[in-house]
């Protein structure tokens, strides 16, 4: 849609560009964080923690620009949705950056202990999350609601990986008490990755709403069963409530 005032168009494009830059930074942060965990690279991890400030700054820029546009231009319909979407996506990306920095901090701690046997599993989970983020940011860049829906449906994969990793790590901890400390770090990292996946799904919902003008009706399939787990290998007992699947 052409705007009679050219600079509004440019402001919207600038908003778009800041979001994409933030996305790129968050992608790089997660990628480096997983590398720091796998290669026990403490220097890389320290850099990631430092660079998280850039993402926070861009988030503030988005807030400022978006609020200014809302106040000055009083946009309608598409433009309004686009600006609101930018506000929400920016918040989600900022959280993703924080989780990536948390993973990096754990990598620093883990570098001082023996490598956990769960490392291949966590590397795989990290790759799943990276893929979700890349695809959801691509869907935002292309304003492609179908791509966003694909990401939205795939969050279950990460939840499944998380459940399986949870069980695996419990086994290691039970076998050998020396594995407890590194395994606990692994579990925290896994939880962070799982939350990153959830935020990627949120972004997908926002992109869908931005493009189609209506929200995704069905609720996201929730697959995290670990809260109901009592022992590794146990299934939720017959009397226990089924995990919520709206």
């Amino acid at each position: 849609m052409e705007h009679t005032v050219k600079s509004f168009d440019e402001q919207l494009r600038r908003l778009n560009e800041i979001i994409l830059r933030m996305g790129g930074l968050a992608e790089a942060a997660l990628s480096s964080a997983m590398q720091a965990v796998n290669k026990r690279d403490v220097d890389l991890a320290a850099e990631i923690v430092k660079d998280d400030a850039k993402i926070d700054e861009l988030n503030r820029d988005v807030d400022e620009l978006a609020v200014r546009l809302l106040a000055l231009r009083q946009p309608m319909a598409n433009d309004l949705r686009e600006i609101v979407a930018a506000l929400r996506i920016s918040a989600d990306i900022e959280r993703i950056g924080d989780y990536a920095a948390n993973i990096a901090k754990r990598a620093i701690a883990m570098a001082e202990m023996r490598p956990s046997r769960a490392l291949p599993g966590i590397a795989r989970m990290g790759r799943l999350a990276q893929r979700l983020i890349k695809e959801v940011l691509d869907s935002y860049a292309e304003k492609n609601a179908d791509k966003a829906m694909v990401v939205w449906a795939r969050d279950e994969e990460i939840d499944d990986a998380y459940n399986s990793l949870f069980r695996e790590t419990l086994t290691y901890m039970m076998e050998d008490a020396r594995a407890i400390t590194p395994s606990t770090h692994i579990l925290f990292i896994a939880k962070n990755i799982e939350r990153i996946g959830d935020h990627a799904t949120n972004i997908a919902e926002t992109v869908y709403f931005m493009v189609k003008g209506r929200p995704l009706k069905e609720s996201r399939p929730k697959g995290d069963l670990s809260a109901f787990l009592t022992q590794p290998g146990a299934q939720p007992a017959a009397g226990e409530p089924e995990p919520p699947r709206e």
């Binding site: 494009r13 560009e17 994409l20 830059r21 996305g23 790129g24 790089a28 890349k134 691509d138 860049a141």
Partner: protein, 466 residues
């Protein structure tokens, strides 16, 4: 031009020209120097005469205007009757033709430039001074999934070091080179070279038309193969040394013990000597496998041509491995289709291939079960040249292999369960050797496995072309 309009124009022109005369007549009539009727008659005659004289020039002027308008829109040469006008019209036509030629020449040059850009194998992007993508060649469109022109560079390439470098190059005009790593969906490494575009005219502020002029060129060089090769080489050197170090360390330990505490203990000496022999044997196997792998790789690029019958080879190998199979109470059953066509191959290498697969099956299959070797003609799997292939399948009833390990099984020294593999005397290179032999024969290796049931390794070998 309708006649009424042109008449109106003529009248106006005549009135304009004759206005002085009309004024004079009017004054005379008012001063009673001339009767009114006479004045009016003369006035009408004057106007009529002027209109008559102006008819032709007016017609010519209108025709020139019309011809010029028509020439501006088409190239048909207009024939205008008046000779003076023909020259003007012809001049206009020539100017028009010359402009068209220039425009066509420029368009051809632009098309050639586009063609060159598209033909380049590396993805190339052209950026304007606002870091917007003004042109992307077909390799770039394919890699980044974008149209021919996109918005800001961040729309297709989000990596922070690349965006930062692009901004810097556009600011200070110095070329830059950054590394860009892609993790998903496949790991790839790119070198991103950003160079400013030379020869863009204008030192001051470019005009509005130059907004889209390319100011920087972004070229993506795929370094994945180089990176992987380096990584693999480093990994291999590390792994091979590790594999050899362990038995060597054990040997050194035993030697020390024999020289020291066990110096005078013949029973202990015999035992240790046995253990040392086992370690030496292990290293020998490893070194042999390394040499075998190395010699296969040396000739891997040159496929063999001599026709080889697979069924007898399979039966021979099965017979040779009967004893180790019996030791685990296992049976090897070879089933070969009747009219198996020969395959172009190296008999020794193919025997090695079947032996390695059978070896694994005996090692990892459950004791007391059967190992099946099946040879048959099938349709060539996708990705292989030719229509038909001979499939050599080895099936065991072992524990099976979890799916996450399947893609890595043919990696050198890759083991699903290292303790068990070493115990069974494995070198970690068996499948790598199989893979390279299959590759040399331009075939394919497929691995199917179900956890808890067993695994099937199938080597597809192309049939000799008739």
């Amino acid at each position: 031009m309708s006649r009424a309009v042109s008449l109106a124009r003529l009248l106006i022109a005549a009135l304009a020209l004759g206005s002085l005369g009309l004024l004079a007549l009017f004054v005379l009539a008012v001063a009673k120097a001339m009767p009114w009727t006479a004045a009016i008659a003369v006035a009408v005659a004057l106007i009529a005469g002027l209109m008559w004289r102006l008819r032709r020039p007016m017609r010519e002027a209108v025709a020139v205007a019309a011809a010029a308008e028509r020439l501006a829109e088409s190239d048909a040469a207009e024939t205008v009757r008046t000779p003076e006008i023909i020259e003007i019209a012809a001049g206009l036509a020539r100017a028009r033709a010359s402009f068209r030629e220039h425009a066509e020449a420029l368009a051809r040059r632009a098309a050639v430039a586009e063609g060159i850009l598209d033909a380049l194998p590396d993805p190339v992007l052209l950026l304007d001074r606002d870091r917007r993508v003004v042109r992307a060649n077909s390799a770039a469109r394919e890699l980044l999934g974008i149209g021919a022109t996109a918005g800001d560079l961040a729309g297709c390439l989000r990596a922070p070091p690349v965006l930062e470098a692009a901004r810097a190059v556009l600011a200070d005009g110095k070329p830059r080179d950054v590394a860009w790593r892609v993790d998903v969906p496949i790991e790839r490494h790119f070198g991103v070279l950003i160079t400013p575009v030379a020869g863009v005219p204008g030192t001051g502020e470019p005009g509005a038309g130059e907004r889209n002029a390319p100011r920087a060129v972004v070229r993506l060089v795929d370094l994945t193969a180089v990176k992987r090769a380096d990584e693999m080489r480093a990994d291999f050197a590390a792994n091979a040394s590790h594999e050899l170090k362990t038995p060597l360390a054990a040997l050194i330990g035993f030697i020390e013990t024999l020289r020291g505490p066990a110096r005078d203990d013949p029973a202990a000496q015999q035992r240790f000597l046995g253990l040392m022999a086992a370690q030496a044997e292990r290293m020998t196997r490893l070194v042999n496998d390394l040499l075998a792998l190395s010699s296969i790789e040396l000739v891997e690029h040159a496929p063999p041509t001599a026709p080889v019958a697979l069924a007898p080879i399979a039966r021979n190998v099965a017979q040779a491995l009967e004893i180790p199979a019996k030791a685990r109470n296992m049976k090897i059953v070879v089933t070969a289709a009747d009219a198996l066509p020969p395959v172009p191959g190296d008999a020794e290498q193919l025997a090695q291939l079947i032996q390695n697969l059978l070896d694994n099956a005996i090692k990892y299959g459950a004791a007391g079960t059967e190992v099946a070797v099946r040879l048959a003609v099938t349709a060539a799997p996708a990705g292989m040249a030719g229509a038909q292939a001979v499939a050599v399948g080895v099936t065991d009833r072992g524990e099976g292999i979890p799916p996450e390990h399947l893609p890595r099984l043919t990696e050198r020294f890759y083991r699903v369960d290292s303790a068990r593999s070493r115990e069974a005397g494995g070198t970690g290179l068996g499948l790598a050797i199989v893979k390279h032999i299959v590759t040399r024969h331009r075939g394919m290796l497929k691995i199917d496995s179900t956890v808890g049931q067993g695994s099937t390794f199938t080597a597809y070998l192309p049939v000799a072309a008739k």
